[in-house]
């Protein structure tokens, strides 16, 4: 779910909770007490697009924008996922019919929701059967190459939702500021999967970032991804006690790439995969640039009472291996 402004969102709770696996956030579903990562088992993943346009975006424009966004994800060289346009449909994106449909829906009551992705999952096996994306036609949309003022860029928002469609949760790689009238304004982001959209008119989110690429490659590794990339893992603690939900960012000093992950269990352990081998700086921060519910099940208590902290040693990420246990110690604000 992508929002133009902040709002309490429970998109990750619709089906499950964050999966305590490598890096980023991946959707997970519980099947007979076992956590199963939500992902497509077969590719190419077929999708339909709705035959309905909105002012400024014809049905053909819509289909083209969706095609470009799918192609961007499919072009990630280290990921194996692929998509296939299955045709135009008059079906509603919210219908559970086994077909994945992308289209507009007029949802004025969701006044801060630009778009949303839903899933149909086989509760017996955890297999992903269908995923639909609706774009809220209560907002003004654009497919102009350079964007248009006061209109949200359809391709950018589609890129974010197709990340969800593929199984990715939200990234916390972004900075926001609270607005006087409520909500948050995005100052910067380094992941298409950041939960809050840039202001209307922006086309900055048409390009995947290192964090997005690491996430999709982790879900659908291609070729030698698992042997050529490395990972960093460790634990976040405060006064010796583990911190759940801490956001850890790995910065490659040579490439300048940022990839984030979270401490995802009761021991405060984190693991960030898909890193380019080399020297990394680690930064840990509380989730304070978006609603916690954008990332985690509301039943989980996420600790945000600690200061942003850097690890005081350089972390070496080897090719095809892990850095070894890293201890990130933080203090209260």
């Amino acid at each position: 779910m992508k929002r133009p402004l902040s709002v309490i969102v429970v998109f990750a709770l619709v089906l499950g909770q964050s999966s305590p696996a490598l890096a980023y956030l991946k959707f997970g579903v519980s099947v007979r007490g076992q956590q199963v990562t939500l992902k497509w088992s077969q590719t190419p993943v077929r999708y339909f697009v709705s035959n309905t346009g909105v002012p400024g975006v014809s049905a053909t424009d819509f289909q083209s924008a969706m095609g470009r966004a799918f192609a961007t994800w499919q072009a990630v060289p280290t990921a194996s996922i692929s998509y296939q346009f299955a045709g135009v449909t008059s079906a509603n994106p919210s219908r559970d019919d086994g077909a994945s449909v992308l289209g507009f829906q007029n949802r004025p009551e969701l006044d801060r929701v630009l778009a949303s992705t839903s899933f149909l999952v086989d509760s017996a096996t955890g297999a992903l059967v269908e995923s639909d994306i609706f774009f809220n036609s209560a907002f003004a949309w654009s497919v102009a190459a350079a964007g248009e003022p006061n209109r949200f860029d359809l391709e950018s928002i589609a890129l974010h939702e197709i990340g969800h469609f593929s199984g990715l949760g939200h990234s916390a790689l972004g900075e926001t500021e609270l607005q006087s009238g409520g909500g948050r304004r995005v100052l910067s982001a380094e992941a298409v999967m950041f939960p809050i959209a840039f202001a209307s008119g922006s086309i900055a989110s048409r390009t995947l970032k290192a964090d997005d690429i690491a996430g999709i490659s982790d879900l659908y590794p291609d070729g030698d991804f698992n042997t050529s990339a490395g990972s960093v893992s460790g634990r976040v603690t405060r006064d010796g006690q583990p911190i759940f939900g801490a956001h850890v960012v790995a910065f490659n000093v040579a490439t300048g790439l940022l990839v984030g992950g979270f401490a995802l269990n009761a021991q405060g352990q984190f693991s960030i995969g898909g890193l380019s081998p080399g020297l990394h700086v680690l930064r840990v921060e509380p989730i304070d640039d978006a609603e916690v519910e954008s990332f985690f099940d509301s039943s989980r208590t996420v600790d945000i009472d600690f200061r942003v902290t850097f690890l005081d040693r350089v972390v070496v990420v080897p090719k095809g291996g892990d850095s070894g246990e890293v201890a990130l110690k933080v203090v209260r604000k």
């Binding site: 972004g174 910067s188 080897p318």
Partner: protein, 228 residues
């Protein structure tokens, strides 16, 4: 001063005591062909550049999340070489060195006000290379004091964190120095022992140079040698 440096200085000191006696005995100094040297090498700080962790803004620009500035701290280690006299004033050398400099990354300017930190890591650095010395005096290998200029280069290998990551590159060096022949004799199959001091400009390319560019730092070598 490290244990290695202590041993090198001790060796030079002992040789110094023997020097006058040896020279007094040798009216016609031998003409050595080979030289074996071992000593200490100090390499000065090597800046590795700056890099900002940036995020994209809505307008498509970038803004810094935090900044980093990196360098390889100065370090001392061991240096060994074998030289072959090619002409009266030119010597070809093969050289190897081993040091453990500290890599330092200073992190500052965090957008959320995190305290500045210097993250560190010890790097094992090995160089293997060769070069040429040109003595500025005639029959330099039999003179007590002989200044020289030098140039060379070779292979650079840097190992991080117990060799889990290896980076390779090249090094080039040029500089000058002098040898001081402490003793010239035929005892123990040697034809002379002495000490050498040199100052170099050391240029390292690739390796831990994050931008891949060449970085220059000063280096000083102090060694003892034996000539055969």
């Amino acid at each position: 001063m490290t244990g290695i440096e202590r041993r090198v200085c001790l060796l030079a000191g002992v040789a110094m005591l023997q020097a006058s006696a040896a020279f007094a005995q040798s009216a016609d100094p031998p003409r050595p062909r080979f030289e074996l040297g071992i000593g200490a090498l100090w390499i000065g700080r090597q800046p590795l550049g700056t890099k900002a962790a940036t995020e994209t803004t809505g307008a498509g620009g970038s803004t810094a999340l935090f900044n980093t500035s990196s360098d390889l701290a100065s370090a001392a280690g061991i240096d060994g070489r074998i030289g072959v006299r090619v002409t009266r004033s030119v010597v070809a050398e093969a050289e190897a060195s081993y040091l453990k400099p500290q890599l330092r990354i200073t992190i500052s300017g965090d957008v959320e006000g995190a305290a500045a930190v210097t993250a560190t890591e010890t790097v094992q650095q090995v160089t293997i290379g060769g070069g040429v010395l040109w003595y500025l005096t005639n029959r330099a290998w039999t003179r007590r004091f002989a200044p020289f200029v030098m140039a060379g280069g070779g292979y650079l290998r840097q190992l991080h964190d117990q060799a889990t990551l290896v980076e390779t590159g090249r090094f080039y060096q040029f500089g000058g120095g002098a040898t001081y022949l402490l003793a010239s004799s035929r005892h123990f199959h040697t034809k002379g022992i002495g000490a050498r001091v040199d100052v170099r400009a050391l240029i390292r390319s690739k390796g831990v140079a994050f931008d891949g560019g060449a970085k220059t730092s000063p280096a000083v070598g102090v060694s003892a040698f034996v000539r055969f």
